[in-house]
Amino acid sequence: MAQDGVTAAAHAPAPEGWQSFVSDWSSDKQTFHVPWGKAMMWIFLLSDTFIFTCFLTGYMNVRISSSVPWPNPSEVFALTFFGQSIPLILIAIMTFVLITSSGTMALAVNFGYRRDRARAASLMLITAAFGAVFVGMQAFEWTKLITEGVRPWTNPMGAEQFGAAFFMITGFHGLHVSAGVIYLTIIAMRIVNGFYERRGGNYEIVEIAGLYWHFVDLVWVFIFAVFYLW
Protein backbone atom coordinates (compact mmCIF):
# COMPACT_ATOMS: atom_id res chain seq x y z
CA MET A 1 0.00 0.00 0.00
CA ALA A 2 2.83 2.36 0.86
CA GLN A 3 4.49 1.47 -2.48
CA ASP A 4 1.36 2.44 -4.43
CA GLY A 5 1.15 5.71 -2.57
CA VAL A 6 4.72 6.61 -3.42
CA THR A 7 4.40 5.81 -7.12
CA ALA A 8 1.05 7.59 -7.42
CA ALA A 9 2.52 10.66 -5.76
CA ALA A 10 5.54 10.57 -8.07
CA HIS A 11 3.37 10.63 -11.19
CA ALA A 12 0.80 13.19 -10.12
CA PRO A 13 1.70 16.91 -10.27
CA ALA A 14 2.67 18.23 -6.83
CA PRO A 15 -0.37 19.94 -5.28
CA GLU A 16 -0.04 23.47 -3.96
CA GLY A 17 -1.78 25.67 -1.41
CA TRP A 18 -4.82 24.13 0.26
CA GLN A 19 -4.62 21.22 -2.16
CA SER A 20 -1.24 20.33 -0.69
CA PHE A 21 -2.69 20.60 2.80
CA VAL A 22 -5.40 18.10 1.93
CA SER A 23 -3.07 15.75 0.07
CA ASP A 24 -0.54 15.75 2.92
CA TRP A 25 -3.16 14.76 5.46
CA SER A 26 -5.07 12.34 3.26
CA SER A 27 -2.20 10.51 1.58
CA ASP A 28 -2.01 6.81 2.03
CA LYS A 29 -0.76 6.92 5.59
CA GLN A 30 -2.34 5.45 8.66
CA THR A 31 -1.12 6.12 12.17
CA PHE A 32 -3.63 4.23 14.30
CA HIS A 33 -3.95 0.62 13.23
CA VAL A 34 -7.28 0.21 14.95
CA PRO A 35 -10.81 0.53 13.55
CA TRP A 36 -11.43 4.23 12.75
CA GLY A 37 -14.48 4.34 15.02
CA LYS A 38 -12.39 3.28 17.96
CA ALA A 39 -9.67 5.85 17.24
CA MET A 40 -12.32 8.58 16.93
CA MET A 41 -14.01 7.53 20.19
CA TRP A 42 -10.64 7.69 21.97
CA ILE A 43 -9.99 11.16 20.59
CA PHE A 44 -13.46 12.30 21.68
CA LEU A 45 -12.81 10.88 25.16
CA LEU A 46 -9.47 12.71 25.21
CA SER A 47 -11.28 16.01 24.61
CA ASP A 48 -13.81 15.10 27.31
CA THR A 49 -10.92 14.43 29.68
CA PHE A 50 -9.82 18.03 29.22
CA ILE A 51 -13.35 19.36 29.90
CA PHE A 52 -13.79 17.35 33.10
CA THR A 53 -10.27 18.20 34.27
CA CYS A 54 -11.01 21.89 33.76
CA PHE A 55 -14.18 21.56 35.87
CA LEU A 56 -12.42 19.66 38.65
CA THR A 57 -9.41 21.99 38.59
CA GLY A 58 -11.72 25.00 38.77
CA TYR A 59 -13.46 23.38 41.73
CA MET A 60 -10.11 22.71 43.42
CA ASN A 61 -9.08 26.33 42.89
CA VAL A 62 -12.26 27.88 44.34
CA ARG A 63 -12.20 25.45 47.24
CA ILE A 64 -8.59 26.25 48.15
CA SER A 65 -9.07 30.00 47.66
CA SER A 66 -12.29 30.29 49.69
CA SER A 67 -11.72 31.79 53.14
CA VAL A 68 -15.24 30.64 54.17
CA PRO A 69 -15.41 27.06 55.54
CA TRP A 70 -16.27 24.45 52.89
CA PRO A 71 -19.34 22.27 53.72
CA ASN A 72 -18.34 18.77 54.85
CA PRO A 73 -19.56 16.43 52.05
CA SER A 74 -19.53 13.53 54.49
CA GLU A 75 -22.38 15.21 56.42
CA VAL A 76 -24.11 16.91 53.48
CA PHE A 77 -24.58 13.59 51.67
CA ALA A 78 -25.40 11.48 54.73
CA LEU A 79 -28.69 9.61 54.82
CA THR A 80 -30.60 8.45 57.87
CA PHE A 81 -31.65 4.82 57.94
CA PHE A 82 -33.60 3.50 60.94
CA GLY A 83 -32.60 6.51 63.01
CA GLN A 84 -28.88 6.05 62.17
CA SER A 85 -27.07 8.66 60.11
CA ILE A 86 -24.64 6.97 57.68
CA PRO A 87 -22.12 9.36 56.08
CA LEU A 88 -21.92 9.56 52.28
CA ILE A 89 -23.94 6.36 51.89
CA LEU A 90 -25.92 7.47 48.83
CA ILE A 91 -22.73 8.37 46.97
CA ALA A 92 -21.15 5.04 47.96
CA ILE A 93 -24.16 3.16 46.57
CA MET A 94 -23.98 5.22 43.35
CA THR A 95 -20.29 4.31 43.05
CA PHE A 96 -21.04 0.60 43.38
CA VAL A 97 -23.91 0.84 40.87
CA LEU A 98 -21.61 2.44 38.30
CA ILE A 99 -18.81 -0.10 38.87
CA THR A 100 -21.30 -2.94 38.50
CA SER A 101 -22.46 -1.44 35.21
CA SER A 102 -18.85 -1.21 34.02
CA GLY A 103 -18.44 -4.94 34.69
CA THR A 104 -21.55 -5.89 32.73
CA MET A 105 -20.37 -3.65 29.88
CA ALA A 106 -16.97 -5.38 29.78
CA LEU A 107 -18.75 -8.73 29.49
CA ALA A 108 -21.03 -7.36 26.74
CA VAL A 109 -17.94 -6.41 24.66
CA ASN A 110 -16.60 -9.93 25.04
CA PHE A 111 -19.86 -11.59 23.99
CA GLY A 112 -20.15 -9.11 21.11
CA TYR A 113 -16.87 -10.30 19.62
CA ARG A 114 -18.08 -13.90 20.00
CA ARG A 115 -21.17 -12.86 18.01
CA ASP A 116 -23.35 -14.02 20.88
CA ARG A 117 -26.01 -11.45 20.05
CA ALA A 118 -28.53 -12.35 22.74
CA ARG A 119 -26.02 -12.16 25.60
CA ALA A 120 -24.27 -9.03 24.28
CA ALA A 121 -27.55 -7.14 23.83
CA SER A 122 -29.02 -8.19 27.18
CA LEU A 123 -25.79 -7.29 29.03
CA MET A 124 -25.84 -3.89 27.34
CA LEU A 125 -29.46 -3.35 28.39
CA ILE A 126 -28.56 -4.34 31.95
CA THR A 127 -25.70 -1.83 31.81
CA ALA A 128 -28.10 0.87 30.58
CA ALA A 129 -30.53 -0.04 33.39
CA PHE A 130 -27.81 0.41 36.00
CA GLY A 131 -27.02 3.76 34.36
CA ALA A 132 -30.67 4.78 34.64
CA VAL A 133 -30.65 3.78 38.33
CA PHE A 134 -27.58 5.95 38.81
CA VAL A 135 -29.24 8.98 37.18
CA GLY A 136 -32.35 8.37 39.30
CA MET A 137 -30.26 8.43 42.48
CA GLN A 138 -28.58 11.59 41.28
CA ALA A 139 -32.00 13.20 40.75
CA PHE A 140 -32.85 12.23 44.34
CA GLU A 141 -29.60 13.78 45.57
CA TRP A 142 -30.23 17.02 43.64
CA THR A 143 -33.78 17.23 44.99
CA LYS A 144 -32.51 16.75 48.54
CA LEU A 145 -29.91 19.50 48.21
CA ILE A 146 -32.30 21.90 46.46
CA THR A 147 -34.91 21.50 49.20
CA GLU A 148 -32.16 22.21 51.72
CA GLY A 149 -31.60 25.54 49.98
CA VAL A 150 -28.47 24.80 47.94
CA ARG A 151 -28.29 26.86 44.73
CA PRO A 152 -25.47 27.43 42.22
CA TRP A 153 -24.94 30.88 43.79
CA THR A 154 -25.50 30.14 47.49
CA ASN A 155 -25.95 27.49 50.12
CA PRO A 156 -26.78 27.57 53.81
CA MET A 157 -23.83 25.38 54.87
CA GLY A 158 -20.81 27.52 54.02
CA ALA A 159 -18.88 28.59 50.93
CA GLU A 160 -21.15 29.62 48.03
CA GLN A 161 -18.84 27.96 45.52
CA PHE A 162 -19.94 24.56 46.84
CA GLY A 163 -23.31 24.89 45.10
CA ALA A 164 -21.77 26.06 41.82
CA ALA A 165 -19.21 23.25 41.75
CA PHE A 166 -21.74 20.60 42.79
CA PHE A 167 -24.39 21.37 40.17
CA MET A 168 -21.85 21.98 37.41
CA ILE A 169 -19.74 18.85 37.93
CA THR A 170 -22.41 16.30 38.85
CA GLY A 171 -24.80 17.79 36.29
CA PHE A 172 -22.30 17.46 33.46
CA HIS A 173 -21.45 13.92 34.55
CA GLY A 174 -25.16 13.03 34.86
CA LEU A 175 -25.72 14.28 31.31
CA HIS A 176 -22.95 11.95 30.15
CA VAL A 177 -24.56 9.01 31.93
CA SER A 178 -27.98 9.85 30.44
CA ALA A 179 -26.49 10.10 26.94
CA GLY A 180 -24.73 6.78 27.56
CA VAL A 181 -28.00 5.09 28.56
CA ILE A 182 -29.59 6.23 25.27
CA TYR A 183 -26.49 5.27 23.25
CA LEU A 184 -26.26 1.77 24.76
CA THR A 185 -29.98 1.19 24.29
CA ILE A 186 -29.80 2.14 20.60
CA ILE A 187 -26.81 -0.16 19.97
CA ALA A 188 -28.47 -3.02 21.88
CA MET A 189 -31.64 -2.64 19.78
CA ARG A 190 -29.55 -2.74 16.60
CA ILE A 191 -27.81 -5.91 17.79
CA VAL A 192 -31.19 -7.52 18.42
CA ASN A 193 -32.74 -6.54 15.08
CA GLY A 194 -29.75 -7.83 13.10
CA PHE A 195 -28.47 -4.44 11.91
CA TYR A 196 -24.83 -5.54 12.33
CA GLU A 197 -25.43 -9.04 10.92
CA ARG A 198 -26.49 -7.38 7.65
CA ARG A 199 -23.18 -5.46 7.72
CA GLY A 200 -20.87 -8.45 7.89
CA GLY A 201 -21.33 -9.33 11.57
CA ASN A 202 -18.78 -6.82 12.87
CA TYR A 203 -19.39 -6.05 16.53
CA GLU A 204 -16.61 -3.49 17.12
CA ILE A 205 -19.37 -1.01 17.91
CA VAL A 206 -19.95 -2.79 21.23
CA GLU A 207 -16.35 -2.14 22.22
CA ILE A 208 -16.60 1.50 21.06
CA ALA A 209 -19.81 2.05 23.07
CA GLY A 210 -18.06 0.27 25.94
CA LEU A 211 -15.17 2.75 25.81
CA TYR A 212 -17.65 5.59 26.30
CA TRP A 213 -19.35 3.81 29.18
CA HIS A 214 -16.09 2.95 30.98
CA PHE A 215 -15.03 6.57 30.56
CA VAL A 216 -18.18 7.74 32.34
CA ASP A 217 -17.29 5.36 35.18
CA LEU A 218 -13.70 6.63 35.09
CA VAL A 219 -14.80 10.25 35.48
CA TRP A 220 -16.97 9.23 38.44
CA VAL A 221 -13.90 7.70 40.13
CA PHE A 222 -12.27 11.15 40.05
CA ILE A 223 -15.44 13.03 41.09
CA PHE A 224 -16.01 10.61 43.96
CA ALA A 225 -12.44 11.05 45.21
CA VAL A 226 -11.96 14.80 44.89
CA PHE A 227 -15.49 16.14 45.32
CA TYR A 228 -17.11 13.76 47.80
CA LEU A 229 -14.21 12.31 49.80
CA TRP A 230 -11.85 15.30 49.98
Binding site: T31, F32, H33, V34, P35, A39, W42, I43, L45, L46, T49, F50, T53, C54, T57, G58, M60, N61, V62, R63, I64, S65, S66, S67, S74, P87, L88, A92, T95, F96, I99, S102, G103, M105, A106, L107, V109, N110, Y113, R114, Y203, E204, E207, G210, L211, H214, F215, D217, L218, V221, F222, F224, A225, V226, L229, W230
Partner: protein
Protein backbone atom coordinates in the same frame (compact mmCIF):
# COMPACT_ATOMS: atom_id res chain seq x y z
CA UNK B 1 -4.31 -5.42 10.34
CA UNK B 2 -3.33 -7.03 13.60
CA UNK B 3 -6.59 -6.26 15.37
CA UNK B 4 -9.18 -7.50 12.91
CA UNK B 5 -10.49 -9.95 15.51
CA UNK B 6 -10.82 -7.15 18.04
CA UNK B 7 -10.03 -7.25 21.71
CA UNK B 8 -10.79 -10.73 23.00
CA UNK B 9 -9.58 -11.84 26.37
CA UNK B 10 -10.61 -14.56 28.80
CA UNK B 11 -13.62 -13.61 30.91
CA UNK B 12 -11.65 -14.48 34.02
CA UNK B 13 -9.59 -11.28 33.89
CA UNK B 14 -12.75 -9.11 33.78
CA UNK B 15 -14.17 -10.83 36.85
CA UNK B 16 -10.88 -10.35 38.71
CA UNK B 17 -10.73 -6.64 37.87
CA UNK B 18 -14.41 -6.23 38.67
CA UNK B 19 -13.84 -7.68 42.13
CA UNK B 20 -10.73 -5.58 42.61
CA UNK B 21 -12.63 -2.39 41.69
CA UNK B 22 -15.31 -3.27 44.25
CA UNK B 23 -12.66 -3.81 46.89
CA UNK B 24 -10.86 -0.54 46.05
CA UNK B 25 -14.19 1.35 46.11
CA UNK B 26 -14.90 -0.08 49.56
CA UNK B 27 -11.44 1.09 50.68
CA UNK B 28 -12.14 4.52 49.17
CA UNK B 29 -15.39 4.76 51.10
CA UNK B 30 -13.52 3.59 54.20
CA UNK B 31 -11.23 6.64 54.07
CA UNK B 32 -14.26 8.75 54.94
CA UNK B 33 -14.08 7.37 58.50
CA UNK B 34 -10.42 8.32 58.97
CA UNK B 35 -9.35 11.61 60.57
CA UNK B 36 -8.67 14.43 58.12
CA UNK B 37 -5.07 14.99 57.11
CA UNK B 38 -2.40 14.20 54.56
CA UNK B 39 -2.58 10.46 55.30
CA UNK B 40 -6.28 10.33 54.40
CA UNK B 41 -5.80 12.57 51.34
CA UNK B 42 -2.94 10.33 50.21
CA UNK B 43 -5.09 7.21 50.53
CA UNK B 44 -7.97 8.89 48.62
CA UNK B 45 -5.63 9.75 45.74
CA UNK B 46 -3.94 6.33 45.82
CA UNK B 47 -7.23 4.41 45.55
CA UNK B 48 -8.45 6.88 42.90
CA UNK B 49 -5.38 6.33 40.72
CA UNK B 50 -5.46 2.55 41.17
CA UNK B 51 -9.14 2.36 40.16
CA UNK B 52 -8.60 4.70 37.20
CA UNK B 53 -5.58 2.67 36.10
CA UNK B 54 -7.42 -0.65 36.16
CA UNK B 55 -10.42 0.76 34.30
CA UNK B 56 -8.28 2.26 31.54
CA UNK B 57 -5.81 -0.63 31.27
CA UNK B 58 -8.17 -3.61 31.44
CA UNK B 59 -11.79 -2.54 30.87
CA UNK B 60 -10.84 -0.06 28.14
CA UNK B 61 -8.17 -2.49 26.82
CA UNK B 62 -5.43 0.14 26.81
CA UNK B 63 -2.91 -2.45 28.07
CA UNK B 64 -3.25 -4.35 24.76
CA UNK B 65 -3.41 -1.37 22.40
CA UNK B 66 -0.63 -0.28 20.07
CA UNK B 67 1.98 2.10 21.46
CA UNK B 68 1.04 4.86 18.95
CA UNK B 69 -2.51 4.97 20.31
CA UNK B 70 -1.43 4.74 23.95
CA UNK B 71 0.93 7.71 23.53
CA UNK B 72 -1.65 9.77 21.63
CA UNK B 73 -4.27 9.28 24.35
CA UNK B 74 -2.28 9.14 27.59
CA UNK B 75 0.34 11.74 26.59
CA UNK B 76 -1.72 14.94 26.16
CA UNK B 77 -3.53 14.76 29.54
CA UNK B 78 -0.17 14.86 31.34
CA UNK B 79 0.01 18.59 30.55
CA UNK B 80 -3.07 18.93 32.74
CA UNK B 81 -0.85 18.15 35.72
CA UNK B 82 0.83 21.51 35.09
CA UNK B 83 -2.57 23.26 35.12
CA UNK B 84 -3.53 21.49 38.36
CA UNK B 85 -0.21 22.46 39.97
CA UNK B 86 -0.50 26.10 38.87
CA UNK B 87 -4.11 26.38 40.07
CA UNK B 88 -3.24 24.88 43.46
CA UNK B 89 -0.45 27.45 43.95
CA UNK B 90 -2.74 30.23 42.70
CA UNK B 91 -5.53 29.15 45.08
CA UNK B 92 -3.13 29.25 48.04
CA UNK B 93 -2.04 32.74 47.05
CA UNK B 94 -5.66 33.93 46.70
CA UNK B 95 -6.77 32.62 50.09
CA UNK B 96 -3.73 34.12 51.83
CA UNK B 97 -4.45 37.46 50.14
CA UNK B 98 -8.11 37.29 51.18
CA UNK B 99 -7.22 36.46 54.78
CA UNK B 100 -4.71 39.28 54.79
CA UNK B 101 -7.08 41.96 53.47
CA UNK B 102 -10.59 40.87 54.45
CA UNK B 103 -10.19 39.26 57.86
CA UNK B 104 -8.31 42.02 59.63
CA UNK B 105 -10.29 43.61 62.46
CA UNK B 106 -11.08 47.27 61.65
CA UNK B 107 -8.23 49.50 62.74
CA UNK B 108 -9.12 51.84 65.64
CA UNK B 109 -9.55 55.49 64.62
CA UNK B 110 -6.41 57.55 64.91
CA UNK B 111 -4.07 54.60 64.60
CA UNK B 112 -1.93 54.75 61.53
CA UNK B 113 -2.93 52.10 58.99
CA UNK B 114 -0.14 50.12 57.51
Amino acid sequence: MAHVEGQQHPLKIYFWIWGLLFLLSAFSYGTDFLPDGYFRLGLILLFMLLKAGFIVAIFMHMAWERVALICAIIGPPTVLLVLIGLMAVEGDYTVLTRLDFFSEPPAPAGVEHH
